[in-house]
């Protein structure tokens, strides 16, 4: 997908009316707050991801959309209708389970047909729709196999076809790729995106893997301890994280602890152990920290920027297209830097502990509220 079509898609999605509306939803298990007053709109045709560490409430939220859990408070609307108390078998949504939950005693065809059979769809229509669904996930030649004769990836496709054959308004995916091995996972990511664009159904995916969410989603909700930290496009999450938790969870980052913060209006002058006083236009309320992405750190003799330091080289991890370099700053703090190309070769040739100039721009440091 080229840049302009991406923009167009983002604009179209912004204008689309919401298909799923989560209104002030809270879920309690005894005294434990699994989901804490979350409101969220998911647009029609959107690929939406809910991202967070385990126990953040993302799966509970998904299960409230599917109907397997009911909120303690709040409302879940699907397609403009209140579905809060509607049982899962009467909701216009379908789910792909983490374990796939493919029925072991049925063939692939029977698995896919099951949802239509319980709806009493005429046999002839079932056949054409099942054939279509199997073709969509490229499983036509496996139609008569039993699940135990399929690989993990194929079983996942059965689960996908089984859910999609019902023509749901929303497809829910609970950690759909976590049970696959790394290579297959990357391939399936691309396939999921293609599939979603092809059929135009809203996808809501739950994952703890930030790479996965970034690779597939139009928008991502980052959850932590039952609350939403930020809802934004992958680019925005990475470049303008709402707080230190999001910055830390999405990609890698270096944090600098302020020694002093002198506020002036919305901005402030912040001084850290490593940097002299730097002025920022916008600084959030309360306790803050400064975040600097590793790729913004320039190293080597030609490195230039608002902040320049002499560092000592630590570990260098070669990772193909770039290298991850550990740098020990004079203050004793270690930071990470990504270097590519010639700089990577230079660094690779240097010995551990040798002195190396390091620089970055003050504008690349983001003052963030501590999570």
């Amino acid at each position: 997908m080229s840049e302009p079509t991406l923009k167009k898609r983002a604009l179209r999605l912004r204008d689309a009316k919401p298909i799923v509306e989560i209104r002030n939803v809270t879920k309690r298990w005894g005294s434990f707050l699994a989901v804490d007053d979350i409101s969220l709109d998911i647009a029609e045709g959107e690929f939406f991801a809910m991202l967070g560490p385990s126990g953040c409430g993302k799966t509970t939220l998904l299960r409230m959309v599917s109907g397997f859990e009911t909120p303690s408070e709040g409302e879940v609307r699907i397609g403009g209708e209140d579905m809060t108390w509607v049982p899962p078998n009467k909701r216009p949504v379908n789910m792909v389970f983490q374990s796939y939950a493919v029925f072991p005693h049925m063939t692939v065809r029977k698995n896919v047909a099951y949802g239509l059979e319980v709806d009493r769809v005429p046999a002839a229509e079932i056949k054409t729709r099942v054939d279509e669904a199997l073709a969509l996930v490229q499983l036509s030649q496996f139609a008569d196999r039993k699940p135990d004769q399929l690989s993990g990836g194929q079983r996942q496709r059965v689960a996908l076809a089984r859910a999609l054959v019902k023509k749901p308004r929303v497809l829910l995916l609970d950690e759909p790729l976590s049970a696959l091995d790394a290579k297959l996972r990357d391939a399936m990511r691309l396939e999921l995106v293609k599939l979603q664009q092809q059929i135009g159904v809203t996808f809501i995916m739950v994952t703890h893997d930030q790479d996965e969410a970034m690779a597939v989603a139009d928008r991502i909700a980052v959850l932590h301890k039952g609350r939403i930290r930020q809802v934004a496009s992958p680019e925005t999450l990475y470049q303008r994280p709402a707080d230190a938790f999001v910055a830390d969870f999405i990609g890698r980052t270096n944090f600098f602890e302020p020694k002093s913060v002198r506020r002036a209006g919305a901005g402030a002058t912040v001084e850290t152990a490593e940097t002299a006083a730097l002025a920022f236009d916008r600084v959030p309320e309360g306790d803050i920290t400064l975040s600097l992405r590793p790729e913004k750190v320039r190293i080597g003799p030609e490195a230039k920027g608002d902040v320049t330091l002499q560092a000592r080289l630590g570990d260098v991890a070669f990772q193909g297209e770039n290298s991850v370099v550990e740098l020990h700053l004079p203050s004793g703090r270690a930071i990470l830097a990504f270097v590519a190309g010639d700089a990577a070769a230079t660094v690779g040739a240097m010995e551990e502990g040798s002195a190396i100039p390091v620089a970055w721009n003050a504008s690349d440091m983001l003052p963030l509220a501590r999570g």
Partner: protein, 276 residues
């Protein structure tokens, strides 16, 4: 091989123990089977007088023995059907729902397994005699077996329930959720998803109930009448009059039947463990 988990199997003392245990366990059965082919008039005769299959023919031609055998099979088939259905329902109830005093109920269901058979036999005999709920012995066959069938269901369904519940433990809850998600009602989930998963447990439970019923003596003895003699009861009565190799032959057939069924039950349980 150096140190391994079964290294003690190489020790002579352990081997002797194993050998002795095997002899004590199986020598009587092997003797029983061997002497069912002994060409001797008396079954108690331990002198080998040559090979014959006459006593199998004799047993086959013994009308009252065959009648007892038919009774036993009829009782076993009918009580197995009821015990399996009842056991399955109990297993699903205990597995699926939480209700007040559930541990008490669980204990009550398991109790017939530990209650001495003699007590159950007496209690059932007293129950049938005192409540008048008993079916008269002159009722037409197979209705006259009713008392025994009820007694057999009573003691065998807890065993079936145990086996089926073990199978249910391995049911992945997402399977039911997936079916619900695809539009199935709770009732359809039960029939389309849960029952097929239970099948190996149902078969194993049924086979267990069948073998338990087939060879039960004590409880049957207390609940049977003169017209409702079962195979084990008949063998016992034959033993009191005359000991002939006919009994050996009949018992060998019973051993074989039980063995085959136990083997099938084990085979049906195994693949499910591997699937986990």
């Amino acid at each position: 091989m150096s140190a391994g988990p079964f290294q003690y199997a190489r020790k002579t003392s352990m081997r002797t123990m194993f050998l002795l245990a095997t002899i004590f366990l199986y020598a009587p059965i092997i003797v029983l089977i061997v002497f069912s082919f002994n060409d001797s008039r008396r079954g108690g005769n331990i002198v080998w007088r040559g090979f014959t299959t006459d006593y199998y023919v004799k047993a086959w031609n013994n009308a009252s023995l065959i009648e007892a055998f038919a009774n036993s099979i009829t009782i076993a088939v009918i009580s197995t059907i009821f015990a399996t259905v009842l056991g399955a329902m109990t297993a699903v109830l205990l597995w699926r729902w939480r209700f007040p005093a559930k541990p008490v109920y669980e204990g009550l269901v398991a109790l017939p397994i530990v209650i001495p058979e003699i007590c159950m036999g007496v209690s059932l005999a007293v129950f049938f005699a005192s409540t008048g709920l008993s079916i008269p012995p002159e009722a037409p066959w197979p209705l006259n077996l009713g008392n025994i069938i009820v007694a057999h269901i009573t003691f065998s369904f807890p065993f079936a329930a145990m086996v089926i519940r073990t199978r249910l433990q391995s049911f992945p809850p997402e399977m039911a959720e997936a079916a619900r998600d695809l539009g199935a009602t709770e009732w359809r989930v039960f029939w389309d998803i849960l029952i097929p998963h239970m099948v190996p447990g149902l078969i194993a439970g049924a086979l267990l109930a069948f073998t338990l019923s087939l060879d039960d003596f004590v409880i049957t003895f207390f609940t049977s009448g003169p017209n409702t003699v079962t195979f084990p009861v008949k063998v016992y009565s034959m033993l009191r009059f005359s000991v002939t190799p006919e009994i050996n032959a009949a018992s060998t057939v019973l051993i074989l039947m039980t063995l085959v069924m136990t083997f099938i039950a084990i085979r049906l349980q195994k693949p499910t463990e591997m699937a986990q």
